[in-house]
């Protein structure tokens, strides 16, 4: 939110907490955020394949969901949509 919307820290935290349905304090709490990220498909650490497994979005997959949840465009996601949708862009 800082790089896309130019928000100051307090404003950015409040915005993200609102979108995720958690408190501002939760945003820095790995215990809470592990579950939140898993539930919303926002990607996580691949530690030994035990925490984030093959069903969980990772890498650019997670960024598709981050863009949707935060309601911001993510450049590489938009470019992926354009490049991967050459035949039928409406479907992507």
């Amino acid at each position: 939110m800082q790089i896309t919307r130019g928000m100051r820290l307090t404003e950015a935290k409040t915005y993200v907490a609102g979108k995720l349905g958690v408190s501002v304090l939760d945003l820095s709490d790995p215990t809470v955020m592990l579950d939140v990220r898993k539930e919303l498909g926002l990607g996580g650490i691949l530690e030994s394949g035990e925490i984030t497994d093959i069903d969980d979005p990772m890498g650019i997959e997670a960024k598709f969901n981050i863009a949707a949840v935060l309601d911001v465009p993510v450049n590489c996601v938009e470019r992926f949509r354009a490049k991967a949708g050459r035949r039928r862009p409406a479907q992507i």
Binding site: L46, G49, D53, I54, M58, G59
Partner: protein
Amino acid sequence: MEPRIATRMGDGSLVEMTRSEIKADLEEGTQQSAKRAKVDPLTQDELDHLLDIYASSARFTAVDIGDEVVMSNDGTGTKHIGNRVQDLQTYEQVLGIDIVELWQIDYSYKAIKTNVAHEGQAMKIAQMLCTNPVQYGAMPDLGRYSKPDGPIDNWSELLPLMKVDEARAAQIEACAMLVEDINFVADHMVEAGADGIDMDTTGAAGDADFLAGLTACRMLREKYPFLGIEIGMASEFVLGMHGQLEFDGERLAGMWPKDQLRMVQAAGGSIYGPAVNINTGKSTAWNIARAITIIKPAMEIAEIPVHVNVGMGVGGVPTCVYPPADATSRASKAFVEILKIDGY
């Protein structure tokens, strides 16, 4: 005096032979294998064609433009340059391989079962980074289920004791475990995005090993209609370690490539890989004539793609870790032009 041509032995060593000697080796190779496998020897046209390919002093040879075939690459990568996914990217982008394969060094479905989550994650990352089809491969490797490596009584120890019934029962029990493990690993790999599953060196432990591969193949085909399933063989002949096992009512022991292919087709396989081992004491000309003679009947009935095993020690490629490109390319051209194979 007849000129001598530099050519290769089955162990990779460079020797000099005359055109007449190479011709004689081709004829002996086809006659001996035809008798052994109870198939027809190669025709005179085919032998002449092979002679043109092998009685050449060229450093490299190739098929005609437009006759190229698909390269599936079981065991993709060196394992020692970069990581495994980088290996796949290298083979996709530098070597021009068409189907790359993710695998681990302990190339056995039983071994992979214990770390399948890690293998799945690697497959998922590979799928993100590769455009080529990426399959997952390992050996059925039935022997892993017998003592001391596994829980089942060792049939190789029971047979010399004349405990034939016990040895057979042990193989059947192991076969069921293997089918379950192949399914277990394949399910995870499909979930991770795999394009195909490769059962490589199938039949290494005999007919029960082959039966496990066929049974697992049929189960996977029913579950995943889109999935590439490749069954590559361990050798030209299915050993009858059990001796009475059947698939679709047909006895597996003693099957040569034509019947092996029929079974793979019936099980729903996508690609069949025949393997004919090298005789290191004979020339590559003798070995290629033997391999093509044995595989030819399979090509005549093939309804699915046939990717011949042509790596170190099989399919006319010498048994040495640095296969000379003169020998490799001659085998490559011979299989494509004479058997009209679908790939390697």
